[in-house]
């Protein structure tokens, strides 16, 4: 999504997140969504984006409910109407919580599905990195153990046993070879 800028000087872009109760039937839920969008439209809001998160668990119970459904809206509003909408949303019965905030600079709208896929990828990467680290540490441990278990090295012996002057003869032969070009 490109960088969001309001169309007029007076208008601002607001992000509204609404938490609906999960005890609503499908019909009631649709009605609640419609009524909230109507509130925004009445105040002259211009809808830019909408993202439905679906059923989510809550970190703490609200009105004895442990689950709810979040919906995120992105609206272009005037500051006065934003205030009025904030007050109007409190009166909505199916709404457990709502938050209407101005978007920060360099804001990017990301849907819940996109975010979830990014989280899954990050998790996978983390798991892979951890496994790699574990393997490396295991390898180093094995090397360390092998070095400990190996008997101490004997005094270094000459690699080629001395064959009593035969080597010198051979060398002499090779050097005296006329075909050899050094």
């Amino acid at each position: 999504m490109p960088v969001l800028t309001p169309s007029t000087e007076e208008a601002r872009i607001y992000e509204c997140i609404v938490l609906f109760s999960l005890q609503l039937s499908e019909k009631e839920y649709a009605q609640a969504l419609a009524s909230i969008e109507q509130i925004f439209e009445e105040k002259g809001g211009k809808k830019l984006a909408k993202d439905v998160w679906g059923k989510q668990g809550l970190a703490y119970p609200i009105k004895k409910q442990t689950e709810g459904q979040y919906v995120v809206y992105l609206y272009e509003l005037s500051p006065e109407s934003a205030q009025a909408i904030d007050a109007a949303l409190i009166l909505e019965k199916p709404v457990l919580r709502h938050l209407l905030v101005k978007i920060p600079k360099h804001y990017e709208f990301v849907t819940f599905a996109e975010r979830a896929s990014a989280w899954a990828k990050e998790k996978e990467n983390e798991v892979q990195e951890k496994e790699k680290e574990r393997e490396e540490t295991l390898k180093q441990k094995m090397i360390h153990r092998a070095a400990k278990a190996a008997p101490p090295k004997e005094a270094s012996k000459p690699l080629v046993p001395d064959a009593g002057g035969s080597l010198e003869e051979k060398l002499g032969e090779i050097i005296s070879d006329e075909d050899l070009r050094l």
Binding site: I17, L19, L58, A59, Y60, I62, G68, Y70, V72, L96, R97, L99, V101, P104, K105, H106, Y107, V110, R115, W119, E122
Partner: protein, 88 residues
Amino acid sequence: MPPPRPSPPRNTAQNDPHLPPPGKRPCPFCLKGIAWIDYKDYPILKKFTNYFSSIKKRYYTGVCLRHQKMLKTAVERARFMAIIAYRK
């Protein structure tokens, strides 16, 4: 009398051997070039809150003051919307 045993590390994350010592850690948000912190981003908020879901100290996480203030507003908003708990 035997010598006193060394006390075990209190928090493994705070004493991570791969990280520079606390107080000298780089800001993880500045490293990624993050301009704003989203209150809807649960994994990031979880990373910077402890078991009791209070915000971790800057001394241990290395977050710069600018980003710590952003983090604070994000955590407060997320708490209000029941994305993260106030207190566990």
